[in-house]
C-alpha cells in the first residue's frame, strides 16, 4: 500500500515501467477486496501504452470491469481511450466493451442476458453485480416516478422475494395493482428548478471572487 501511495504522489514513478508489477498486483487486490482506485489503474494503462512490452491482457480486463462497476462515472471511457486499437479485438476486452455498450445505452435486460452467457469473465471481481445493480437503480431513480413490478424485475434481473426485499430496502412503495412508486412528482419539479439556477451560481461565485480581489488591490 505504501508503495502505491508513493507512485500516486510521485510524478516520476508514474512513467516508470518497473512499477507495473506492483500496480498489476494492486489491481488484483482491488478486484478481490472490492475496493477501487481509479488513479492507480489509469496510471497502469498509460504505462502499457508507453511500454507495450509490459501489456497484460488479463489485468486490462480486470481494470475495465472495475471501471464498469464504477458507472455512472465516465471511468470506462477514460480507460478505453488508453487501450491501443490493436487490443480491441482480444476476446476478453471485446466482450467487456459489449457489456459496456449495453449498460451505457441502458439496455439492461440485454446486458443481464449477455452476462449470463459470459459469466466466466467476471470471476474474480468481487461485488461486480451489486455495483451494476446500484448503477441501474440510480438510472431508474433519475427517470421513473413509477413503473410496473414486472418491468422493474426485468431491468434489475431480480425476481420474487428478492425483488420485494430490494423494493423495501430502497424505500419504494409497492401498490396493489403491481405499480412500484419510486419518487414523487414534486421531486422532479425540484430538480427542474435547481437546474435553472445552476448557471447563475457560477456567476455569483466568480463575481464574489472578483469583488474580493478588486478590494484588495
Amino acid at each position: 500500500m505504501e508503495e502505491i501511495k508513493d507512485i500516486l504522489s510521485n510524478s516520476k514513478e508514474k512513467s516508470n515501467p518497473g512499477k507495473s508489477e506492483v500496480l498489476q498486483q494492486f489491481v488484483l487486490t482491488q478486484s478481490k477486496e472490492n475496493t477501487y482506485c481509479k488513479e492507480a489503474n489509469i496510471i497502469l494503462l498509460k504505462m502499457y501504452t508507453l511500454f507495450p512490452e509490459c501489456h497484460h491482457n488479463l489485468t486490462v480486463c480486470l481494470i475495465l470491469l472495475k471501471a464498469l462497476a464504477a458507472l455512472p462515472e465516465t471511468d470506462f471511457v477514460l480507460c478505453k481511450s488508453l487501450i491501443p486499437h490493436n487490443k480491441h479485438n482480444d476476446s476478453g476486452i471485446a466482450r467487456i466493451f459489449k457489456m459496456h455498450q449495453f449498460l451505457e445505452r441502458c439496455q439492461f435486460n440485454e446486458f443481464w442476458l449477455y452476462l449470463k452467457e459470459n459469466e466466466d469473465i467476471i470471476k474474480g471481481v468481487t461485488g461486480f453485480k451489486e455495483s451494476i445493480l446500484t448503477y441501474i437503480k440510480g438510472v431508474i431513480k433519475l427517470t421513473y416516478k413509477s413503473l410496473h413490478r414486472d418491468m422493474l424485475s426485468k431491468l434489475l434481473y431480480t425476481k420474487g422475494k428478492e425483488l420485494d426485499q430490494l423494493i423495501a430496502k430502497e424505500g419504494w412503495k409497492l401498490k396493489e395493482n403491481g405499480t412500484v412508486e419510486v419518487r414523487s412528482s414534486a421531486d422532479f419539479a425540484a430538480i427542474a428548478s435547481k437546474q435553472y439556477s445552476s448557471f447563475k451560481e457560477f456567476s455569483v461565485q466568480s463575481i464574489s471572487n472578483s469583488l474580493y480581489l478588486d478590494m484588495n488591490q
Binding site: S11, K12, K14, S15, K38, E39, I42, I43, K46, T49, L50, P52, P72, T74, V77, L78, K80, S81, L82, P84, H85, Q101, E104, R105, C106, Q107, F108, V139, I140, L142, T143, Y144, K145, S146, L147, H148, T179, R183, S185, F188, A189, I191, A192, S193, K194, Q195, Y196, S198, F199, K200, E201, F202, S203, V204, Q205, S206, I207, N209, S210, L213
Partner: protein, 580 residues
Amino acid sequence: MTYSGVNRSTSGLTAEDNYYGEGQEAYQSELRQSSISPEVSEFLYNLLEQILFTTQEEVQDKQRKGELSRLYDNYFYLSDKYYQLYRWPTVEEVSRHLNIDSEIEGWQISIFRRLYSELFIRHSLELSESKAPAPFSYSDYCDSMDIYLGLFNLLLNECKEPLNFDLPSQWIWDIINGFLKHHESFLIWRSQVKKRSLKERQLLRDSDNLWTVELVLNALNTLIKFSNINEQLEAYHKTKDPEAAKEAGNKYGRQPLYRNLGYFSLFALLKLHTQLGDFHEGLLSVKNIRITHQTLTRMTIPLSAINLVYNMGFCYFMMRRYLDVIRVFSEITQLTQSWSLGQGSISGEQIMKIQVELIVNKCNKILAFITPLIPQNFDDKTTKSLSRITTLNEAISTFRLEELRDYFYQCCPQFLPTTTPDYDNLVDQSESCVEHQWEVFLSDYIPQMFIPRVRGYLKFYASLPLSKLAEFLASEYAEFSQEQVEKYMIPNDIERLRSFLMCYKHKMYSPVWMGDSPLEGMHRSANDLEFYLDGDMIHIVERKKRDQTYEESFVDEILKLRDLRSQIIKPNQSFHQAQY
C-alpha cells in the same frame, strides 16, 4: 563585425557544446545566409549585453525586463525580415561573430549561448513546417533535444543556487511550448516510416532514447518540483493572498523566472497528457489552477491562457462534462475581445493572433457537438460564431457520421503516436491515434444523437404516451434500414425508446465544477427540459416562469458591468505580475 579568426574545427568547443557538431551537415550553405547583416549583428550585441546586465543585482528592475522583451519582439521582426527562407546563424557562428569563445568564463555567457540556441532551433523547426526547403533532419532532432535539456539543466541543476536572472513571461512560455512542439514534431516524423530513408530508419532503430515521452514528462515534472509552484498555488487558494503564496515558495519558487517556468510547465503537462489520450491525468496535473473570469484576465500571455482553456475543455468534452466545457469556453470567448491582438506591426503579434484564432475556432467546433444536446444561453459573441457552424445540427439528426468525423478531426488536439513504429513493415500509424480517439468518442456520442429530435417533441407536450413518441420517431427515422436501426439503437419502438429515455437521463447527469480542483464536481443534470416516466406515460415538468428575484437582477447587472469593464480596462501589459 569582427571575426575572432579561429578556425571552426579548432575553435575549442567546450565539452558540453560538443553535440552541436553532429548536426552541422544539415546547416550547409543552402540553408543559411552566409553573412550576418548589421541589423542582426546589433540585435545579437544588444542581447548579449542585456543578458550580462540583467544578471547584475543592482539593475534588476522593470526597465531591464522591458528591454529584454523589446529585444524579443525584435527577434520576431528580424526573423521575418531576414530569415524567412534561411535559418539563423548557428551558435558557433554567433559566438565567433561576437568574439566570445569558451575561454570567457561565467554562466551569463552560457545562458546567452543556450538561449540563443533555443531561438535558433525553434525558428528552424517553424521554418521546416512552412514552405521553405529546410526540412528537419535526424540530427536536428538530436540537437533540439540537447538544446532544451541543456537549457533546463543550466537553469536548474548546474548551479547550486537559483540564478539571479529573469526573462519576459512570453519568452518563457515560448520556450516551454517550443519544447513540446519539438517532441510532437519528432514523434510524428518518426511515425511516418514510409517517408523515412533507409539511413534514417537505421538511425532511429539504434536510438530509442531520443525525445521519448518519459524524457519530456520528467523534464516538466522537474521544473514543477523545483519551482514548487503547486505548493504556492495551494497556499494562494487557501488565503487568496499573493504574498502568502510567495511565502510558500522555496528559494527557487520565489523568483519570477522559476515560478513562471513551473507555472507554464503545468499547462504543458496538461497539454501533453491530453495529446496522449490521458484526460484524467491531464486535468489532475492542473489541479491547482482554477478557471474563472478573474484568473483568466490575470494571465498576460494570451497563447498560454487559450491553450490551457482549450485543453481543459477537450478533457471535459471527452469525459462528457458538457456544462464544464461550455463554462470554460464561454469565458475564453469573452476574453479574446479584451486582448489587443495583432494591432501592432510586430510579426510576433501577428503570428500570435493567428494561433489564438486557430484555437478559438477549435473551441467553437467542440461546442458545436454540444449545443444541439444542451441549448444554452450564450453571450452574443459565441452565438455569432456558432451561427456559422450550425450545419452540425443537420449532420447529427441525420447521422452523417463522416461529416462529424471531419469535424472531430479538426477540433481535436494532435494525438501523439507513442509506440515505436515497425521499421520493417512500414505502416504509418500517425492516423490511427486520432481514429482511435474518434471511435471512443463516437461510441459514447451515438446514443446522444437522438436527443435533439426527442427534445423537439417533448417541448410541445405536457404528457405524452411512450407509444405515441415511438411512432413519431419511427416516421422521423423511416429512411434507416433495419441494420442501421439495430446498430445505432434507433428508438422507434417502445422498448428501445424506454432504454433511450433512461440513457438520455444518464448521459446528461454528470459532475459539474463547483469551484474546487478541475476534476472535482457535483452531479447535476444538464437537461434544460425535465421529464419523468410514470409507467408508460412521459410527463414533462413545466418550468414555472418565476419572477426574477432581486438577487438575480443584481447578478445580471453586475455581469453586464463586468463585461463592460473588461472591454475598457485591457489586462495589464507589464511583464511581471503574479499569475495566479
